[in-house]
Symmetry: C2
Subunit: 346 residues, 2 copies
Amino acid sequence: MSYSRPIDFKNGRVDLSHGSGGRAMAQLIRELFVRHFDNDYLRAQNDGACFPLPAGAGRMVMATDSHVVSPLFFPGGDIGCLSVHGTVNDVAMTGGQPLYLAAGFILEEGFPLADLQRIVISMAAAAKEAGVPIVTGDTKVVEQGKGDGVFITTTGVGVVAPGIELAPQRIRPGDKLLVSGYLGDHGVAIMSLRENLSFETAIESDTAALHGLVAAMLDAVPGIRSLRDPTRGGLAAVLNEFAEAAGCGMLIHEKAIPVRGAVAAACELLGLDPLYVANEGKLVAVCPAEDAERLLAVMRAHPQGRDAAIIGEAIVDANGFVQMETVFGGRRMVDWLSGEQLPRIC
Amino acid sequence: MSYSRPIDFKNGRVDLSHGSGGRAMAQLIRELFVRHFDNDYLRAQNDGACFPLPAGAGRMVMATDSHVVSPLFFPGGDIGCLSVHGTVNDVAMTGGQPLYLAAGFILEEGFPLADLQRIVISMAAAAKEAGVPIVTGDTKVVEQGKGDGVFITTTGVGVVAPGIELAPQRIRPGDKLLVSGYLGDHGVAIMSLRENLSFETAIESDTAALHGLVAAMLDAVPGIRSLRDPTRGGLAAVLNEFAEAAGCGMLIHEKAIPVRGAVAAACELLGLDPLYVANEGKLVAVCPAEDAERLLAVMRAHPQGRDAAIIGEAIVDANGFVQMETVFGGRRMVDWLSGEQLPRIC
């Protein structure tokens, strides 16, 4: 076997030698990962990446997310950009400024190198756009039938500015609940593809990095209580987590919740409830009532928050229930998701 | 489905709901991960973990490693402790003091919860022994046949003390090469199990965290040029990386390389070369010749370096070849591993 020729990214496939620690792995790292992720940390090819810390950084944050989305490519994105956005957002939701990413790849033998390259290029573009370089990584290969194409685990580190203390425990009855835009786009985009549904207007994943929006929000309203991105389990899971942590209830208003017509229609067809559907470019914010309008205005002024809305409020409720006032005026419970609605959505 | 009862860790199995973002996932996180990893960062159950930085820390290091070892349990360890040791060691090899770990789990539907619990307990014990808590994590579940039991990606962060600058580019001809103990134990333990070989003396994986040894070494010899743990690709891969980065040759002496008799015998039986076999609790160090004996003494005084040895030296060689002087007095080339010798060794 000769490795003097460049890798054939058009027709080649992942084989076990790409995870062996030998010449083939070194070549894959050099010609694919280092080339596209393109930064000095990776080029140094050490076991880990060393980086300086911004002066005055008091606390750091670390977040990790494994991505197993199926299919790997979907309208509006792919596992590559999703794996960058997901972790950047997890760091951002703590109030942290994301600085660096690590990426661990688990590849299945036989996976087309062309697809892997497409995924890596998408990751590289997402990382570049977010301004958060992928500085270290790892590649493993498993035998055909022991994986599913590619799984990507990304880990992000960031710094939290002094004074920023986001925690759902700080939520108080009377606080307002905001979302940054239309709910359910990501989950419905994936499920439509899986179910081979086509709609007049294509539904695209909302996958996006939200740290710019978060920075603008914290700048305007440092007193934000808590932020979460409603991924798996959707808005319902986030509100139940908030209620449990804060020991109060949550009341949302159906008519205030932004859901696209096409998403609502698809949900009806698929038997899904948009409140439980995953988002990958939206956030839920809680703030004191007196700051809510100002926060809303700041969010709407940002491209990622154009369709933001105030959707409800925390209320006194020792049971910690999440309730929704429906468009018909009644109230219904919004419980945790039981069982599995949407496997491998992210 | 009721989740009011505790999880049945004796007879239960992973199902897709454990990755759904709903109640079942929250319960698994609480009753398994938070319980055993046991620290306040995890208990806060935020999207990421915030932690203070040690005062005066100039640089940070981040390293990540996906673990796909098969079988999951092996003599001397399992994927759980291995996933802690592997990443702690990657941080340590940069000269960093490991501080925190993140863990991403990719579980296969149907995987016995008893096995998962055993793995998590092993991780928890390894993290506790290393003094490096697992502060954040993620759990995904894939359908049966789309994974292989459990894959674990760990990411570690640490701080690098001012003045510590490890890099293979700093290696100079004349520098001495040291290893911290017997080579090949991990790879041979795994391969023996896979091939159903049994030996008179059981060969156990050497999986161990090396940051204590590294701290002692740097304390005694701050001028160490570079450190690497010879995992996939073994000693041969490390020496070839060193040679390539430093632009010089490497000469090792076969009779000086510590290999257990049982490992050498097993390698002969399995058609393996101990120089290419993975280790999970050993390191290779390069230092100026005048520091070598002192470094050796410090290593031997540490439990993880008891069987350390000086095995060779960097030499002038524009080709960057790695050569071994054999026990018969001749020299042979020690090239990169071509192809795949030992898939899924870590």
